[in-house]
């Protein structure tokens, strides 16, 4: 973990360094907080779900995949609670991807733009 030969060396030292690399990471984070506020799960439940994801082998040493684990933890918790099953998420995610392809550049991507499979 020498700071010279890993990504740790490249971390911005500034106190206000950005914590989200991409917007979806911020959205996944915020959804988790909102669902906790709503009482859908306790913070201990969340910590357990996240912990079991980040403990899986293959986690990047530089932590860049952290929010991928975060998202996987959120999905597994929502599936376990019967709120959003994996197949439903798969189906709607595919619709979002098709909608993105069908949306002209510069226009907001809307799910209604999905031309269908």
């Amino acid at each position: 973990m020498s700071r010279r030969d890993t990504d740790m060396a490249e971390l911005p030292p500034g106190i206000d360094a950005p914590v989200f690399a991409e917007p979806w990471q911020a959205e996944a984070f915020a959804m988790t907080l909102a669902l906790h506020d709503k009482g859908l799960f306790s913070w201990s439940e969340w910590a357990q779900a996240l912990s079991s994801e980040v403990k899986k082998p293959g986690a990047a040493a530089d932590g860049h995949d952290y929010y991928e684990h975060w998202l996987a933890a959120l999905e597994s918790l929502l599936a376990a609670k019967g709120v959003a099953g994996k197949s439903d998420v798969d189906t709607i995610a595919a619709a979002w991807e098709r909608a993105a392809h069908a949306t002209p550049h510069g226009k907001p991507i809307l799910l209604e733009n999905d031309p269908g499979s």
Binding site: A21, E27, W43, G63, L78, V83, E97, L111
Partner: protein, 201 residues
């Protein structure tokens, strides 16, 4: 982390899954997309290590506050309106001449968000989470912090219920400084324990 965007409008698989969750949760009335934006904005712009720096500066300036922070950090921090969202308890651990404190979360990435904002990437990365406990002195050296061999290092492992804030030692030569001036010397890393308070210029 770079993603190649060869199409003008493309959602990568992670972004598409987040949107799918948002769609389902909004339909079920579990989240309000506008509230999600507010949370993101709050964490990106309003909550950050400056909150913690104010807590530390107040403890340096006001012995009664420092005493309160030692006994009941949750209440002392809440008195400055920095309240944790997860109902977690806070404990302040004070560095002394004999002991240096270092905070980690070996389980996942529990972190005192209300006072430090969101954790830096390295805090969440496996090497720090595993090595801070096994070899704290070596980890600190990689952060450029070499402590005297006789200085003890205490490592505090955060949980979902209990988070720690390190109160670094007040630098010498800061007598008579205002809390605002003192807060400028307190870095995020100093409050995690991977650094010390800055020396006055």
């Amino acid at each position: 982390m770079s993603h190649d965007h060869d199409h003008d409008n493309e959602l990568d698989p992670f972004a598409a899954r987040v949107r799918a969750l948002e769609t389902i949760l909004t339909q079920k009335g579990l989240i309000d997309p506008a509230a999600i934006d507010v949370i993101v904005d709050t964490y990106e712009t309003k909550i950050g290590p400056r909150n913690g720096a104010r807590v530390v500066a107040k403890a340096w300036s006001d012995p009664a506050y420092a005493d309160w922070l030692k006994r009941d950090a949750t209440a002392a921090i809440a008195s400055l309106s920095y309240t944790g969202r997860q109902g977690e308890h806070m404990q302040a651990v004070f560095n002394t001449e004999d002991t240096h404190n270092l905070v980690v979360c070996t389980l996942c990435s529990c972190y005192p968000w209300s006072v430090l904002g969101l954790p830096p990437v390295w805090y969440k990365a496996p090497p720090y989470r595993s090595r801070a406990v096994i070899d704290p002195r070596g980890v600190l050296e990689e952060f450029g912090l070499t402590l005297p061999a006789d200085k003890k290092i205490r490592v505090w492992d955060s949980t979902a219920e209990l988070r720690y804030l390190v109160v670094p030692m007040r630098p010498e030569g800061t007598e008579g400084w205002s809390e605002e001036q003192l807060a400028e010397l307190v870095s995020r890393d100093a409050m995690i324990g991977t650094g010390l308070a800055r020396q006055p210029a």
